[in-house]
Symmetry: C2
Subunit: 356 residues, 2 copies
Amino acid sequence: MQKGKASLALEHPAYVTASASIAGKKEGEGPLKSGIDVVEQDPMFGAETWEEAESAMQKQAADLALEKGDIHRKDIRYLFAGDLLGQLIATSFGTVDLEIPLFGLYGACSTIGEALSLGAMCVDAGHADRVLAVASSHYATAEKQFRFPLGYGNQRSQSASWTVTGCGAVVLSKEEPGRMAKDQAQVRITGITTGRMVDLGVKDSMNMGAAMAPAAWDTIQQNFEDFGVDELHYDKIITGDLGTIGQKVLLDFAKNKGHDLSEKHMDCGIEIYDCEAQDMHAGGSGCGCAAVTLCALILPKLLEGTWRRVLFLPTGALLSTVSYNEGQSIPGIAHAVVLERFVPTAGRKEEGGAVS
Amino acid sequence: MQKGKASLALEHPAYVTASASIAGKKEGEGPLKSGIDVVEQDPMFGAETWEEAESAMQKQAADLALEKGDIHRKDIRYLFAGDLLGQLIATSFGTVDLEIPLFGLYGACSTIGEALSLGAMCVDAGHADRVLAVASSHYATAEKQFRFPLGYGNQRSQSASWTVTGCGAVVLSKEEPGRMAKDQAQVRITGITTGRMVDLGVKDSMNMGAAMAPAAWDTIQQNFEDFGVDELHYDKIITGDLGTIGQKVLLDFAKNKGHDLSEKHMDCGIEIYDCEAQDMHAGGSGCGCAAVTLCALILPKLLEGTWRRVLFLPTGALLSTVSYNEGQSIPGIAHAVVLERFVPTAGRKEEGGAVS
């Protein structure tokens, strides 16, 4: 059902039937290490180029999600997937062997939010019984493409983020009572708020948090408005990769509009690393940042009941080296989904609701 | 309603409420000149860089489609858009001012097919009353990115295609009886077949038609299988940009499977130029190729009643210069929509049906 300007309340929520995360060594040394399914020590993932490495990681994450859910790839109707590379080559070569009808997506680091949104919309509509949402990034492919050759040893500014080597894969399904064990908690997507681009003129590609924060706030306030709620409605409001500087900007934006998000806000870019001990500067970024944090931290916290309703909004900075070098600014975008805990035996009653 | 492996029969077809095409000088000198809404003689579209030129063209096409349909941008719920450039910068900077919630798509030259598919799925589901689908390409941005600097004057192989400078924008809406004049024909999307990647190992980026033809056939045969039809069901089966060589490959593939497509097949890449007189080698390509041909030729032919049911399947070659230079092959993909003529007074009866 359409809600307000840019949101949907799903009549038939999409259930997270399975999920998997694969990440690199540095991510495996951070706070999420116990939640990440596979930490790969070899940054090449056994491949010969960085791009093939990222593709291998996507393939591995997709396969593992299917395996964990005991789902055959023939039972996935659509694949919604993307990455940061020009022409989505990590996705193309990573998922071609799955032979699943593909919708290729580009939302910069917001891609897993875009994929979950479109995937859940398909499930809600009955257009698909089961879809797979995948997004990845790799530190080396991103540095090579957007910044400097690794061997150059370029010094990084304090506001810069570190591209996560990681991939998250999530299977979304219609309600499948046969697969739901009694009393076993589920996570489902019950609402969607689709982001529009917001460009306040930030031009510093080494400070993408500042470029994305206005878009994050735009989507959050749109979600509040469309559903007639505020921050009290959620246990957590979790952005993708604003990092420490972007987080400050977001909290300031919200405060100026009378919303105190300080207790509710989390950012995947801050959670995925121990930013100080690991010397990660502003935090993590990349499509894999939100995707891995979703699978390794957010879904488990919902399943165990620490949180019951989360607004999850991966954030993207829409730049390329061409646009940057031509003096263009960096529009931001943020795609939000409402993740809710649901326990089948609770009389189909929604478990969501703020704990505070 | 899900049909077979990869198709949907739309319970609530999506109506093409308005469309617009903008193209460059060379496209305006070709066979579609009278159908293209605006032929821009200035390849820079008044901008300072090629990329800004492509963005300006996207903006102009989107604005014109809305104007032609007498629709305010606030009445468009979602924008589905993409282009060929790394990180979709033509789209980002072209559509940011529209302030419409955006799903960024990458399907190479199949993008308008992907956009129409997802847009129609949204309309069918009631997730949106009205969406806008946009795809563009620009000869100079594509050459700069994928091939050689224009000033280098590189010689082109005979199998190479020419990237279309053009943009097509299409408004899809739910049935709006109030907007439908009696006896006035409409075009609507009634079915969708979503492509999967097909990679037969073609590695020649100057022969993309051959790389895409297997994917085109895969989607066509999937459409036939899912809907239980064959080529007789359609007045035309129109691919995006296979060009003259890709067309031969497609017809051969079909023939080997017992299907004679020779009378039914058309290719936007062949239609958009007078390939011989304009010396276009294999034909046109780029996201703009199928998008402009749709708006300037296919929709008019349906509206005037020359055709009543068309299978329209833009085709994409999933390569980047990185993947190409690393020796990867070129997977193809093709996203099909079924376009049908519909006349409101005909008792809501479908007008579709093969003429032969």
